[in-house]
Subunit: 177 residues, 2 copies
DNA sequence: GCCTTTATGTAGCGAGTGCTACAAACGACT
DNA sequence: AGTCGTTTGTAGCACTCGCTACATAAAGGC
């Protein structure tokens, strides 16, 4: 991608993190990128393609954040690994990103193709990532990763709905073998 | 609520199930209810209050659907109970409702007050409902219900993201004690 | 019969939407 | 110097948004 385009995307990601992506519109996005709606369409072709570019960038960013945050402290076992993932994904810093994740899911549920693809891509990458980062030797790391992801996403849902306490209790009780 | 108002809400719920609630606007809603945007504002005061009324009605409907679907077949143990809940919440019939649930979560994550309250209310009711409908004697039914809800919501998320297969695998593996 | 309250239609306001037509500036190349 | 492709600004189109002003009915109490 052309450097100028990439810089625009970076700037717009900031705006999207603040205001959400579901009802982002060209003129505010353009202002955030220091340009005009006219130029956004010129560079990206359509709003849809613009959003796609922003979503990709957001995915990259999330991957990096996860890597950094997770590497900061090595979890000794599955339980603390799950707890750490729960803490990371539901930290205030990542709140804006998780809000966008919910918007992606909502749009995906509505069948909007760009979002469906993005959603599946993110889920697949997460499973692979968790599977590769499990702290303990595991007879079936993929299945464990899938289970952990379900628990993470479920507690995230409860957190978004204002029941983070319940989410904590459940994550704390899981994998108590 | 005035009967006429209630009838309007019922009709609009239909429209919302088809088109989602996040970007529902007055004129199409009015058409679905056989009236005009003018009258919707007249009866409900503002769009916000209209949406609130629709959300409440949707919550009632979901509760009833759950009751009926669940009562149709008695689950013998926790595992099959979880499987049944997973099947119900992710059935094609309830897809439109779950789509709206995602939209509620997204709006709640954005801090829109009406949605935050609705989200928490739904979660609380679900936990209480599951806790009361557990098939087996349980030392801590509330905790079990919370765990089941997290699993259900997590698998719902994966399902919305196009990974229903993974969701199934995880639900099938849970509570395998 | 009058008068107030409730209900409804018509028209419109100001703002915002994605996107486009047109033209001008600009740089690189011949 | 002239030409051509790229980039950008200005203006605007046709539309939707939530909501309101105004006028008109209809209905019920005195």
């Amino acid at each position: 991608m052309v450097p100028a385009k990439q810089a625009m995307v970076q700037a717009m990601v900031g705006h999207v993190l603040q205001h959400g992506i579901a009802d982002a519109s060209l003129r505010p996005l353009a202002q955030a990128a220091g340009t005009s709606d006219r130029m956004l369409i010129y560079h990206f072709g359509s709003k849809q393609q613009l959003i796609a570019a922003i979503l990709i960038e957001l995915g990259e960013m999330f991957g990096q954040v996860l890597e950094v945050q997770f590497a900061a402290r090595r979890a000794p076992d599955r339980r603390s690994c799950l707890a750490q993932l729960g803490r990371i994904t539901r930290s205030p810093d990542l709140r804006p990103m998780m809000r966008i994740w919910m918007q992606i899911l909502a749009a995906s549920a509505a069948g909007e193709t760009a979002y469906v693809e993005t959603g599946r891509l993110i889920v697949d990458r997460l499973i692979a990532w968790i599977s590769a980062h499990l702290p303990e030797a595991d007879p079936d790391p993929d299945q464990t990763a899938r289970t952990m992801l379900v628990l993470i996403e479920g507690s995230l849902v409860l957190d978004m709905a204002g029941r983070g306490d319940v989410a904590d209790a459940v994550l704390d009780g899981a994998f108590r073998s």
